[in-house]
Subunit: 305 residues, 2 copies
């Protein structure tokens, strides 16, 4: 069952202890859709500039990702420059240029309208809500956000949270959103804002799935991260986690508690692969066999018997 994702398709310049790359295809919707494409059909809504050409289109085409909803606008695509030289767990931002994203008004192609799953990647919550309202009949909506929107666009973000089935954010964002430094209390407070479930991502320590509302009887679940010998580039790991997680859920006929657990593992698998090479390189070259092999490795890593 198809996922529509709205988010950034962008260019990144990134420096890590392993090296540096300039203006490579990136953005939350790119990482998400590449990761999710191994599980289900993916359709992207974004805006790009004149610097987005056949080379970039080919990356999506190779994974059968529908980009008919990517709008072309005069000017340059969204650009981000950052580094992870002191801390692989936290990016230092050197430059952000919104470019064509500054005036983006997302439109849903008719061919996307039968998508049963919607992912609102990390963008302005006003845009997230606009997309959500144009797709009232989806079966399941998940979303991401970041510290900037939590701090300075809280009212708009709270509106988005009300309409979410699943929120995926990291420890720091969870604590900031709830203004509570205990992660269990913070997660419960965030669930009270609307999301029926939430995934708190702990970077190199994996992720925890919490349930609220009518799902509160389902138990909390922890997925580990794979201990990695070398993290080449953590950029996009969280978006890749979300793609693996939501892509797997969308591939299942029923989203049972057991399916959520397996989705957590697939999220961790995709996040771990994303870190192994620069940018989207590893996701572009991945196979479903490799994904399932690592899924089994995660089981071995955590199961008693």
């Amino acid at each position: 069952m198809a996922i529509t994702v709205v988010g950034s398709v962008a260019y990144d310049t990134v420096e890590t202890p392993a090296g540096r790359y300039e203006r490579q295809l990136a953005g939350a919707a790119t990482y998400f859709s590449l990761a999710a494409s191994f599980f289900t059909d993916v359709r992207v809504i974004a805006v790009v500039g004149e610097d987005f050409g056949p080379e970039q289109e080919a990356v999506f085409a190779a994974r059968n990702i529908d980009i008919s909803g990517i709008e072309r606008a005069p000017g340059k695509s969204f650009f981000w420059e950052g580094s992870y030289l002191e801390n692989l767990n936290e990016a230092k931002t050197h430059n952000t240029e919104l470019n064509v994203f500054a005036t983006f008004n997302p439109k849903i192609p008719d061919s996307y309208r039968d998508s049963e799953f919607l992912f609102l990647a990390n963008i302005d919550p006003v845009l997230q809500r606009r997309v959500r309202e144009q797709m009232p009949d989806v079966k399941l909506v998940a979303g991401d956000t970041m510290n900037y929107w939590i701090k300075d666009h809280r009212a708009a973000l709270l509106e988005v949270l009300k309409g979410l089935d699943i929120l995926l954010i990291n420890d720091t964002e969870t604590k900031m959103l709830a203004d509570n430094s205990n992660i269990v209390q913070a997660a419960r407070a965030v669930l009270a804002l609307g999301p029926k479930s939430m995934v708190v991502k702990h970077g190199e320590y994996g992720a925890t799935l919490f349930h609220g509302g009518t799902r509160a009887e389902h138990s909390t679940f922890k997925a580990p991260a794979l201990p990695l010998e070398e993290v080449v580039d953590p950029t996009g790991a969280g978006d890749s986690f979300a793609g693996g997680f939501f892509g797997y859920l969308a591939s299942q006929k029923e989203q049972t508690p057991a399916a959520y657990r397996r989705a957590m593992f697939y999220g961790s698998v995709m996040g771990s692969y994303a870190c192994e090479r620069f940018g989207t390189e590893r996701l572009q070259q991945l196979s479903r066999e490799e994904i399932d092999a690592r899924f089994n490795q995660f089981r071995e890593l955590t199961h008693l018997d």
Copy 2:
């Protein structure tokens, strides 16, 4: 099968966001032996001052812990004062008084000599080695250490590591000991220094078991930590983890790879209980039924099916 443990039996004054207590019975050997006592016989080697009396003896007696190897010396017991006001994951030390520990020379009672398991809790590596040499025939030796010994007593510590089957330390200590910020590379480097296996403790994120040497074919294993609604006092959580881990291993006829995995869970169980109340309070009131109930909760928290 009995464990002999050498380490501090001490008094702590501690302040946490949940409150404060003054000069309560504490110390690594106390937490370790209380936790391990739920699984096997425990015998303690330590030194205490004249401030150690019937009230403290009763804490050990209630758990059938043998303290005939606790030496009484003129003066005061080891004392530590610390707080966790800004960060529950890291203690801030306000005062350390070695007192009777300054001239401690550990002696092994004859009645301890048939112990098959030896735990060298966090004390001066010179003392750890002295105990190790007096018990050459034990079946399995595990140990702990801390940043102070790693930084300023490295040569003595390296001698201890050569004789260890299992080293249990935290992330920061692992990275410091290996001078490597990647935890997988750091763990491998530490294993090359002697320990056949090592447990890297991640605080609220659980712990990872790595194997080296002839055990290297056994797979890495991750135990989660329980998401805790309230951490009342993290003091002794690491020592309690070690007590649960090593106590369970010692209770098993054979220390198979599967037994190591279950031991990791029991370590996490004891660490999580230790944090729930001040000092050793929760460990003193615990039952084996509660321990096994939480063990099953950990399984539920991490297992797919």
